[in-house]
Symmetry: C2
Subunit: 160 residues, 2 copies
């Protein structure tokens, strides 16, 4: 099936998917968070075709999610390292992980996260940057932002 570009959509979820919406991409990013930097290690872990992996990695470099850092001159070989933009995908990956832990991990979570600050085995909770209380689907209201000034209300957002 042809990949449709979301680049013209006036939506930040679509813009995130434009970068990480390919099937393999978030698993490549996941492995990078676990410390993987080498092409061959990504390839072995993911069992992905080398040409597909190469395409995905180059696309992530172009998008500014990875940077290539040469670790060998002869032959020329690169580490693929997360940039700050790439590391900022951590909340996306972590939210996916927690949902998978909750609904699709019948033998228990494959990975536990320990928060270094307190030593707790922890899950992340999303809280409001304004008041520190939990944010969820049921206690937020969506309004049109600067990027969509033609819309005013949530009902407009659902109709547009």
């Amino acid at each position: 099936m042809e990949r449709k570009s979301f680049s013209q959509m006036d939506c930040s979820v679509a813009q995130c998917l434009e970068v990480v919406g390919e099937w393999w991409t978030m698993l490549i990013v996941r492995d990078a968070f676990l410390g993987v930097t080498r092409f061959d290690v990504f390839q072995q872990r993911l069992g992905i075709a080398r040409n597909v992996l190469q395409l995905r990695l180059e696309r992530l470099v172009t998008a500014g999610v990875f940077e290539k850092v040469a670790y060998s001159e002869h032959p020329l070989r690169y580490d693929y390292r997360l940039t700050p933009k790439g590391r900022d995908l951590w909340p996306v990956m972590n939210a996916m992980r927690q949902w998978g832990d909750q609904y699709a991990a019948p033998n228990g979570p494959p990975i536990r996260l320990v928060h270094r600050g307190c030593g707790h085995e922890a899950t992340g909770t999303v809280v409001c940057s304004g008041c520190g209380q939990q944010m969820s689907a049921t206690n937020v209201q969506a309004l049109a932002g600067e990027g969509r000034p033609q819309l005013r209300r949530k009902s407009d957002l659902a109709r547009s």
Copy 2:
């Protein structure tokens, strides 16, 4: 390109992608969070082929993300409503939105979220369920969980 199934992967990120990793799926879920329930409205908003939309919606029903609720008997027509499992995708969608706002919204965020509890226009911050302090890629440590008892250390996770 053939869609590879991630269902046998021992990873909760992969299991989440198994459900929402199709190109259109998170945008369907996004629209559901904005209040869309009707097939024709999803179709108009997304500009997606009807047969593709039908497949995606049915898959989300099978996965327990949506439930179908008849709103007309003659002809038989359904609302597609998020289940609790579906609503628990909110942190995934919100994290994608915030990343897109930060890196791919040159005209400003298309949508603003207001936290009803405090009235602030707010972004979500991920905090530790144990101590309430911020969690990020740099202050957590990944360890093998019950679902992968054969692994012990982060370095094992990166090698496996």
